[in-house]
Amino acid sequence: MTVDAVARPRAGQKPGHVPGEPGLWVLVFGDLLVFGVFFVMVLALRGQDPAEFVAAQQTLHVEWGVLNTIVLLTSSLFVVLGVRRAAERDPRAPRLLLAAVACGLIFAGVKAIEYTTLVQDGHRPAGDEFHAYYFMFTGVHLAHVLIGMSALLFAARLARPSFTGTHRNGALEGIATFWHLVDLLWIMLFATLYLMH
């Protein structure tokens, strides 16, 4: 952080700090673009036949989507507080990051219930277009959640006050940034798949 502040002096402005590694932001914007295409595809599908889209959408349980949105938002808050405390060598930091992992487990559990219910009701990924999109896009997102959870488990180790490795804070920030990305992508995935009629 100090290095960044020195390396980026800007007249009359607070020096900018790139959270995590600059290279990470290539991945972040890449993912933002890919999911941007997913969101457009969902709304374009709706445009083809709004009545059919709404009928297929009725098979989802919007309450589960709302719950999962709030679960991910809460996990993001835990990560913000955990990383901040880790920077201060506060011993409570790892627990906050593990709380975020627990939120990730709840999210994945709810998704498992949703997937099982849909398949039992006969709405398979290889069925109609809406459900193909639903399984594919939420599946790609769920993969992000699982990768993020493993990264957060690693972050909980790094966050221990006794951990003395170099780049500790940068790595923590990078993992936090990835987790917030997971949260952010779900926000619009939820809006387009569950809410747009």
Binding site: R8, K14, G16, H17, V18, P19, W25, F29, L32, G36, F39, V40, L43, A44, R46, G47, Q48, V54, V62, V66, T69, I70, L73, T74, S76, L77, V79, V80, L81, R84, E88, E173, A176, T177, H180, L181, D183, L184, I187, M188, A191, T192, Y194, L195, M196, H197
Partner: protein, 93 residues
């Protein structure tokens, strides 16, 4: 001093989280039946709320607020373009 800044930072993050939860419940209420009745207007509000939520996560949780201008600007442009393109797709597709 550290304790004071720590407390205020925790407070503002928690406030942002509360706003995000309120927005989530609000867009849930506006989706569904409301959208069938009010069409594009309700759709614009739901997409708009989504874009605002994304922006809040980016600026406050990802700390883009204090990031270099280029990085923050790229993110702000993404939020704005996403809103316009999604609303356009909804209204015209």
């Amino acid at each position: 001093m550290t304790t004071v800044t720590h407390t205020s930072a925790t407070k503002s993050s928690t406030l942002v989280w509360a706003a995000l939860v309120v927005f989530t419940v609000l867009s849930f209420a506006l989706g569904g039946e409301e959208m069938i009745t009010h069409g594009t207007l309700a759709a614009a509000v739901v997409i708009g709320i989504g874009a605002i939520k994304i922006r809040l996560v980016g600026l406050y949780f990802m700390e883009l607020r204090s990031a270099p201008v280029v990085l923050r600007a790229a993110f702000e442009v993404y939020c704005a373009v996403l809103f316009v393109v999604l609303l356009g797709t909804y209204a015209l597709a």
